[in-house]
Amino acid sequence: MIRLCSFVAVCLAAGLIALSPGGRADDRKKADPTKAAKADPTKELAAVEKDWAAAQAAFMKAYQEAKTGQERKQVLKEKRPKADSFAERCLKLAEAHPDSPAAIKALFWVLANAGNSDASKKATATLKDSLVARSDLDQLHATLSGVSAYSLAELAPDVAEKVQKHLDHPKAPALLVWVCSATVYGPTPALSKLYNQTVDLLMDKFTDRKELLPLCSLLAMDEDPAWAEKHLRTLYAKNPNDDIRRSAKFSLASVLKNKDAASQPEAEKLFQSVIEELGKNAAKNPIVQQAQAELDDMKVRGLGRPAPEIAGNDLDGKAFKLSDYKGKVVLLDFWGFW
């Protein structure tokens, strides 16, 4: 699995700053359950989403208007919109219209926005029962594809179990890849284990399938690089799809780049080969640019090379240099509280 740590915090902070301010949320749109039950579920879900967006926008505005770090922390603590009442509206509409496609979407909304709540437990239970248990693999595939899998991790064990009974079904590999996307960040040890088992299963039974493309980027950042390297080597060697082989090649090069000094020549060769494969005319291709950036980085900061000097000030404003610590092992940590 991939460890998120502060990678998430950074994205969150960046997201908060990048989003433009909007109007303030108003409290007058209190949900009326009887009305919700009668209303068109698709329209009601749209209304929930709209009200939620307005509440988010009001929070963003308050966050941007906060001047000091203390104020920002306060805004985060006090003004971050609570999804509870919105989730409640979603649950009600799903209950009132159990067979409507909007019901499934509403329950997905609950999991995406009100994770780890009573509402999300209810939504998970309902989805396991009404979606996973009752659908065949074709329906399941149609419903789950295109939906952000990450927040649906709790459904993954049921989906995996169902698919494992029908491994000869044409949609089996795609659904197992969905299970991997859903569980790649854990978040519990059991789900992490399911992630590893599912990748192993896919690599054992479906090595040559084109559905495996997303695995290449998932494996590139795995916290167990040796395991990832093994699978990426197999995909690179055995998958007949050019896109997958190229993606596996890139990810394998990235894993080797951070592995050890002895792996640097191979990483270099693989990045070079990605560039050559896409051709010289593809200079503007982001993959080519990234491969070139990795090669340039390896020449200066590759494993086995002397660390370039850093000169700057410490947090008290006192000047110092990285080379002051020669003779000691140094763990150089790019970090922040944010």
């Binding site: 740590c5 000091t68 610590y325 092992v329 940590d333 790019f334 922040g336």
Partner: protein, 104 residues
């Protein structure tokens, strides 16, 4: 990360080891409070520099945390994106510290 880093620093006190941060917080006042609250005793560069590009930009850092492990001779030994498992980090650090001590 921080609790484990703190224990690593404490455990290797007196050994040839230093944890050096590159800190990218922007709010000085808040940072001071956080440093104290989290008992961050190790030294960090300020990422932002007046006379040069930010350290993280110079080092092509694209995600946080990013860690480099540098041996006592100044050679880059390992790199991690997103933070390694604690036991993996400990093992790699201790291996290099042992080599540094033997080389004395």
């Amino acid at each position: 990360m921080i609790p484990h880093e703190r224990s690593l620093v404490n455990r290797l006190e007196g050994k040839p080891f230093a944890l050096i941060g590159v800190n990218s917080d922007q709010d000085e006042e808040q940072l001071k409070k956080d440093l104290k609250e989290n008992q961050v005793t190790w030294r960090s560069f300020q990422n932002q520099r007046k006379a040069a590009t930010p350290v993280a930009t110079e080092w092509n850092v694209r995600g946080w945390p990013t860690l480099y492990l540098i041996d006592h001779k100044g050679v880059i030994h390992k790199k991690w994106l997103g933070g390694p498992k604690n036991e993996v980090l400990d093992k790699e650090v201790e291996k290099l510290v042992l080599a540094a001590e033997k080389d004395k």
